[in-house]
């Protein structure tokens, strides 16, 4: 029983450590430049979770520039995290 217990525990620990690193790498892999619509123009959104978050909504929260066209990237409503919002310069 002890062998089985050790096997189950080792598998559980290795799997969770592996998936934590794997998903982190996935989210870090070259994030595209994001923009948000402030009602008048598209502005740089900054980094998700640091400069802004997307609260649940059916509208587009951020956009990416694809072949010169702003394409919806994340769903939700754009909310700046703190006062240090990115500047208006693109």
């Amino acid at each position: 029983m002890k062998k089985i217990k050790v096997t189950i525990m080792t598998l559980a620990i290795l799997l969770s450590i592996g998936s934590a690193f794997a998903t982190r790498m996935h989210f870090d892999s070259k994030p595209p430049l994001l923009y948000y619509w402030d009602g008048h123009e598209f502005l740089p959104a900054g980094t998700y979770g640091v400069d802004f978050v997307c609260v649940v909504s059916t509208t587009a929260c951020t956009y990416t520039l694809v072949n010169g066209v702003y394409t919806p990237y994340q769903l939700g409503a754009y909310v700046a995290v703190d006062a240090h919002k990115p500047s208006k310069n693109k």
């Binding site: 089985i4 525990m9 598998l11 620990i13 979770g49 649940v56």
Partner: protein, 161 residues
Amino acid sequence: MLLLSSFHSGNIPFLQIAREVIAALLIMLFLYAGLSKWLDFRTFIGEMNNQPFPKGLIPFLVWAIPSLEITIVIALVIERTRMVGLYTSFVFMTLFTTYASAILLHFFAYIPCSCGGLIRRLSWRQHLVFNFFFVILSITGIILQHRKSSKTNLITKNSFV
């Protein structure tokens, strides 16, 4: 293979395996959740800022939540502290379930993002089902662990008679 062959030969009781599997599932959940928060700490702080908690609590919570998750993992791995780990995970998952329910019932002024590693891809409704499953799992683990403890006590008592 080892597990299956031993199980078929009837050497290992089903409940003993079930207890280990439940502990392993809870370990996977809390280790993954705790580690992914620390690995992407800046994002986690941003996500916590998005939650409807008093802003003064955030600096405490961003350290307390992942630390508690890893502490639960350690408690679940060590046999002597497993019961504490199971009770703590039950309380923790019940709190998360209550929070998800409160959000779905529009208890707060706005609906925050449902974030956290791979789990960030789940909606609040999916979160609720996911959390509820782990609440049930914790309760089952507590019952099985109690059974084991009472059995061990009975054997110890009988050996002295």
